[in-house]
Each structure stands twice: as C-alpha cells, then as structure tokens.
Amino acid sequence: MKKLLLSLLLASPTLLFAQGSQVNTQSQKAVGMAGAGSALFIDEASIFYSPGALAKMEGNGIAIGASAVMYRSAFREYNSTEIHNTKFKITPPFSVFATFGPKNSWWKAGIGVYTPFGGSVDWGTDWPGKYELNHLQMRAIYIQPTLSFKITENFGIGGGFVYNVGLVDLSRSIPVTMADGSSGQANLSGTGTGMGYNLGVHYHLEDNVSLSLSYRSKVVTKLKDGDADFSVPPSLAASFPNTTFNAELPLPASFNFGISFPASSKVDIAADATFIGYDIYKSLDFDYADNTPVLQDTRQEKKYDNAFSGKVGVNYKTCDNLTLRAGIGYVYTPVRGPYVSPETPDNNRVMASAGFTYLLSDKWDLTAAYVLQQVQARTVTNKASGLSGTYKTNIHAPGISLTYKW
C-alpha cells in the first residue's frame, strides 16, 4: 500500500531588478541634490548623467567614489503583532569615471565603471515571507566607454557603449521539512552579461541656462549557467538535483531631461525628470538545466508599469573652496500592488539629500553626500504567494568621492 508519487511543488524563485534596487549614486554631486544636476555638472560623471556635456570639460579628470547604501525594510503581516526587519546590510556601490583627450578641444573620451542597480536585503529564514525570499544580493556593473563632441560652443553631443556584468545571489526557504524541523532552502547564484548604449545632448543657453537630454537603453542581462543548489532532506535529493539555470533580467531604459539655471551669482538650481521604461519587466523566467516533477522551469509575473521620478536641487558656492548642496525628489514606483514582493517592497518614495564639495587643492576635490529615501508604507497581498501585510522601507546612502584633475 501507500504507493505514492511524491510531487512537491516548488514555487518559482524570484529576483529583482526593480526600483527598489535602483539607487543612483554615480556622482556624489548629484546625490547631494537628490539626483538632480545632469544639466548643471560638467565633469567626469557626465559620462553617466549627460554624455553630451562631457566634451565641454576643459581638462581631464578621474573620480572615484563609493556609497554605503543601507536598505532597511520592515514588514508586519496583516493581523499580526510581529514586525520583521531586514538585517542590517551595507551595499557598497562604487563608481570610477575617467576622461581622456586634449584640453579645450572639440572632443573628449571617457570611460565609466559604475553600478546603477544593486541591493542587498536579508529577511532571514524566520519570517512569514521566507518561502518567497530569505536573502538577495545583486549588482549590475556597467562598463561604459564614451565619446563626446562639441558641435558648437554651446551644444555638445555624446554617446557610449554599455557592457553590463550582473551578479545575483539569492536564497529562499522551500516548504519541505528537514529531520530537525527546519525548512529546506534553495540557493541561486550566477553572473550574466548584457549590452546597451547611451546617448545624450547638452545645450547651454546664453543666459547660463543649461539643458541636458539623455537616453540610456535597456540592457537585457542574460544569466547563463547560474548555480542552483538545494538544501533538502536526503530522501528528496533526487527531486531537487543541484543544477544550473538560465534567466533573463531586463534592466530598463531611461530617458532623462535636466535643466539648470543660476538663481544668483553663487546659487544654481537644477531639476531633473526621469522616465524609466520598466514595463519591459513583464515576467521573470527560470530555465533549469535539470527538471524533475517538482523542479520545473518557472515563470513569475511581474507586469511592471513605467516609472517616473522628479528631482530638484540647490548648489551653493559659499566660497572658492566649498560648495554646499541640498535636494529633494519623488519617485513613482513601477511595481503594482499584487506584485510587491520581499525583494522589492516598493512604493512611491520621497528623497531628501545634502552634500558638499571641498576643493583640497587645484588638483584634488573631495565630495560627500547623503541621501535618505523613504519608501512609503504599503499594504499589499502578493498575487503569487498570498503573503499579505504592510511593508515600509528606509534607504540611507552616505557617500564620498575623490576627484583628481589635470
């Protein structure tokens, strides 16, 4: 008797490449203005923010910066008293920008290495959403050689090629019970690559008003032969073979419009509006090399909307050596309620920032900034898992960068 076929259903694993992971920290000057300033700043980081502005740099420079992104989420299940917090994790996105080319010339070349997407959340193995996610760490590193040309004294145009290396590492509990009473676990990790480009124009009006338009293409990152490891009871090992997987992660395109103008001889105001084409993120599909009755390829709906953000900042030159900055911003989330999940407990968010640049010498600048992003509380029921509750997230991102000019 008891002729039974075991068929455990392994819910599909999840990944994020969402708003929640996008904390733009490429230039600490822009961070100090909550992300505004693409039209205002003409420096190495224009490789990222406004490639058309790059050719307007007089000399050359190299900037190295890093941030400490602290992503703190909390969750309370509906009708429960318990509040669960993500563990304290610091993600260190970094950026390096360098330019090359003759001084005061009609062209400039540059290269940027930066991490436009990345994050680390660790909910642990003892929270109501553990069968959705234990931890996730991901980073997309973009390598972008760029060329920029001055068409006229006021008008610059530029573009670059983007090569992306994506790294992802996540785990989730599997609802099978080990002999010691704990749950099984799936661990997925892998690297992938993708390609894209960016383009931009930058225009100075006579009265020092500057305009910047830039476009960054989507980058579809293909994860190939990632490792899928399963910790399950030995009797189920054959159903959960350690195998490899392929997946595709579309990083969205974005279109940015920036404007800056002087409010006085010492004060500049900059504003940026960014449209992010997240609607390409329709689903996340995992293709396992070895399938079993319980380990099937999975397809998880994401159905993202497009996202939009608006940022405005003030840049105040107090004296020759010190510039102070502050900014505020607002971001509309691309994640719809039923698709909010522990990797992206996203919602509309407000941002506030402050920062400064201090000229250490003719050659060296030190820039530091701090941005706080508050993702508003959101009460949702996830369509796939049924997990129902309230998420709230704060993101703190202090950062520092050092520039050498010649």
Binding site: L4, P128, P175, T177, S235, T318, F356, G386
Partner: protein, 432 residues
C-alpha cells in the same frame, strides 16, 4: 575658511539628526489587539478530542502537544486578557509519549514508516504517565460526544485515564471532568469520532466496541446540546467547530480503487483487474466512489481467506466490509456529518457562540488547496503539508492554520482583534 568649517558642522549636524530620526528600521504602525465585546478570555479551556490534544503521526507526543491548535490560540489570547494555559505535556524525558510514526525512507517515492519507541511515557503496559495538575487543554484523543457521559470510558481510554486521579478512574465522566472548571471562555470540538470511529472501521460497527458506534442524530443532539448548555450556564462565551467530512482526510483518499487495481494488475501480470468488495446489497466490483482506509492491508489481497483463494480479487471472496466504505456508506456518513453540523450551528446561533467551520475549511483544503504565504496546503498524503503521517491529524502547520480559523471565528463573532498565528513558523511532515 572659518565660516565654511562651521557650515560643515551644521550640515553634519543635520545629517546626524536625520540619521537618528530615521536610523535603522522604519516604523510600521503596530497592531492594536482588542478583546472585543462580551467575551472574557481570562480563563480559556479547550474541550475536544485528539485534534484538541495535539495528537499527530498516530500518537500523542510532546512536540504535537505543544503545537496543538488550542495552545496556539491561548498564546494569541494573551494579548487580549488571556491567562495561563496549562496542558498535560509529557516530560522532556518522556517526550515521545505514546510513540508515533515517522518517515524512515522514501523508496521509489513510496513512504516507509517506522514507529518511534524511545523515550515513551508508559508507567506500565497500556498506561501512560499521569498528569493530574490543573490544566486548561482537556483534549482527549478518542473522546466522543456519546462516550463523554460514560464514566467507564475513563478506564478504557489511556489518554483520559492519565488525566484522572486514581480514585476517579472509571468513576467520573469526561463531561463531569471538564464542566466544573470555572472557565470564562471555551473551545469545543467534539463529534468527529462519533462518525470517524465508524468510518475508520469501514463503516462497520464492531459488536462490543463502543468506539465504532455510529452515533444517532438524536443522541448527538441531546448530548451535544446538554454539553453546550452546561458550558454556557453562566453566560460564558466560546467557539465551537463543525465536523469535517471523512472524505476530506487522506486516511480515506490515499488508497484509491484505481491504485489498488493498478497494483493488482501489475503483480498478477494482468490476470486480475478488479477489486471485489462486500456491500449491504451483496458483493460487487469496487468503483472510484468506494473508499479504502490508509490502514488497508494490501498484502492480504489475493491471499486465501476462509479457505477461498483470491481474497478481494474474485466475486466469491470479496473484501470484508471493514476495509471499505462503499459509496452508499460514504453518502450515509456525509448525511450524518451534515445533520450534526446543522445541530452545532443552530446551537451556536442560539447561544451566541462563534463557529469555526472546519467542515468548510477542510473541504477547501481538499478541493482547491490553500496557498499560504508561498506554501501549498492540500489534503494530499504527506506532501500536502496539512495532515500528519496518520492521514487524519494535523501537522504543526495544519494546527497553526486551524488556530487561525478559530481566531477568525472569535474575531468575527465578538468584534475582537486577536492577532493571528504566523503559520510559517510551523512545519509540515518531516522527511528523512
């Protein structure tokens, strides 16, 4: 230069201020619990059978007792004025209690089970270690509505016997034992065994075995009604639960006619293709609507019985009535369950008691399954997560979901806000 230093200080001040204001974890509004109206949770007692006791995997043992749904409810009631809730736990040294089943291996996907025989709690053969301190979980495996009034049952049922002082064994009925506890609130889930005892015996009343009696609706109505009237004599409130369909549990849905037929056909090289059963209207071929129990001894199939070969495989030697619930018996049992549930709901309505509709809930678990926070819960044996290895009783996660069903009922009836149990903390069936 001096000025800029001061300005930096101001900025650093603002930054550190905002860091302390928002530092670390974001704050979410906390859950406001409330005891609502009319209900007083200060002394909650749980009355019921094996489900209330935390019986699982074919035995009563400490881990199961600790996650019994009333214990989980009591924990949640603490935030709304609930008091102490003692249970007749086995000691750590005797944690395996009566002994229980565990999964030894999976061989070609078939479960192989073994009995846990260490750290048992027998004080002598057939008698469990006593627990006679004051308790609030009065769950007694095997308890029935009809036998709750029979003092002698205390001497026959090892789980009831261990709760009674020596002098009261066989002298005090379960009804008298539990209705004198000055409770302020109660959960009451009896009646399952008044049909299950009969159903598990193949819808067959074994002469002389009162645990296989098929309790009549009249008896049930009188005795259940008397029990509830007594428990509410001081206007106490409580929650009662309906009786699940026997077809909702894997004990009756795992060994199917199709599986038996396939096994017989394979092992006889196609000579035998059908299973023959005894019914009230004579022997006939088993169909998909006839149910076999999980304890059905498949190795007796085809053997000689009473001198006739081919037991169960030929019409001249059909399976004994005890091993099958034929479709007429299934309908008879379902009708009785429905009649009992009508009585329960009506009584609850009259007495203003909450109703945990376990009948509807377990039917939903069986038909569509439930998706709970990424776990699929259904009535499939072993991997369905809801039912333990005996195919009848709940797993720890099944108990947690049952506790939430009761809490939902309490909240709805008494406008209370009792917090829910996080069922993901509790396990399903353990795999080797």
């Amino acid at each position: 230069m001096k000025r800029s230093k001061n300005t930096i200080k101001v900025y650093l001040g603002i930054i550190s201020l905002s860091l302390t204001t928002y530092s670390c974890a974001p704050e979410i509004d906390s859950f406001e619990s409330s005891s609502g109206t009319n209900a007083d949770f200060s002394k909650y007692i749980a009355i019921g059978n094996s489900l209330t006791a935390g019986f699982a995997d074919g035995g009563l043992y400490l881990e199961g007792q600790q996650v019994a749904f009333p214990n989980l409810i009591a924990e949640q009631l603490k935030s709304v004025g609930g008091g102490n809730f003692n249970s007749p736990f086995f000691s750590e040294e005797q944690r395996n209690g009566s002994g229980y089943l565990q999964l030894k291996s999976l061989t070609d996907g078939q479960p192989v089970m073994e009995q846990v025989t260490s750290n048992l709690a027998y004080r002598e053969a057939g008698k469990l270690t006593r627990y006679t301190s004051e308790i609030q979980n009065y769950g007694v495996p095997g308890m029935r509505v009809d036998l709750a009034y029979v003092p002698l049952f205390g001497a026959l049922n090892i789980y009831f016997e261990r709760l009674l002082p020596e002098a009261e064994v066989g002298a005090k009925s379960y009804f008298d034992f539990v209705t004198t506890r000055n409770h302020s609130f109660f959960s009451f889930w009896l009646g399952n065994n008044d049909v299950l005892g009969y159903a598990m015996n193949g819808a067959y009343e074994t002469p002389g075995d009162p645990t296989t009696t098929f309790t009549s609706v009249t008896d049930f109505t009188n005795r259940y009604g008397n029990f509830i009237n007594t428990l509410t004599s001081n206007q106490q409130k409580g929650v009662v639960a309906t009786i699940p369909d026997v077809t909702a549990i894997p004990f009756f849905t795992t060994v199917t006619t199709a599986r038996l037929k396939a096994g017989v056909e394979a092992s006889s090289n196609g000579v035998y293709k059908e299973i023959y059963i005894s019914t009230a209207s004579g022997p006939r071929v088993a169909t998909a609507e006839d149910l076999f129990t999980l304890s059905f001894p498949t190795d007796t199939l085809g053997k000689a019985s009473s001198g006739i070969p081919g037991y169960g495989l030929i019409i001249q030697n059909p399976l004994h009535d005890r091993f099958v619930i034929d479709k007429d018996e299934v309908a008879e049992i379902a009708g009785r369950v429905n009649a009992f549930n009508t009585v329960i709901k009506q009584l609850a309505e009259n007495k203003q008691l909450a109703v945990a509709d376990a009948h509807a809930y377990l039917n939903k678990v069986k038909t569509t399954g439930i998706s709970y926070n990424g776990i699929n819960i259904n009535a499939t044996f072993i991997q369905g997560n809801a039912f333990s290895l005996d195919g009848i009783h709940l797993t720890p996660i099944g108990n947690a979901l049952m506790a939430n069903l009761f809490i939902d009922a309490i909240n709805a009836k008494y406008n209370a806000r009792v917090p829910k149990v996080d069922a993901t903390k509790y396990r399903g069936v353990k795999y080797p």
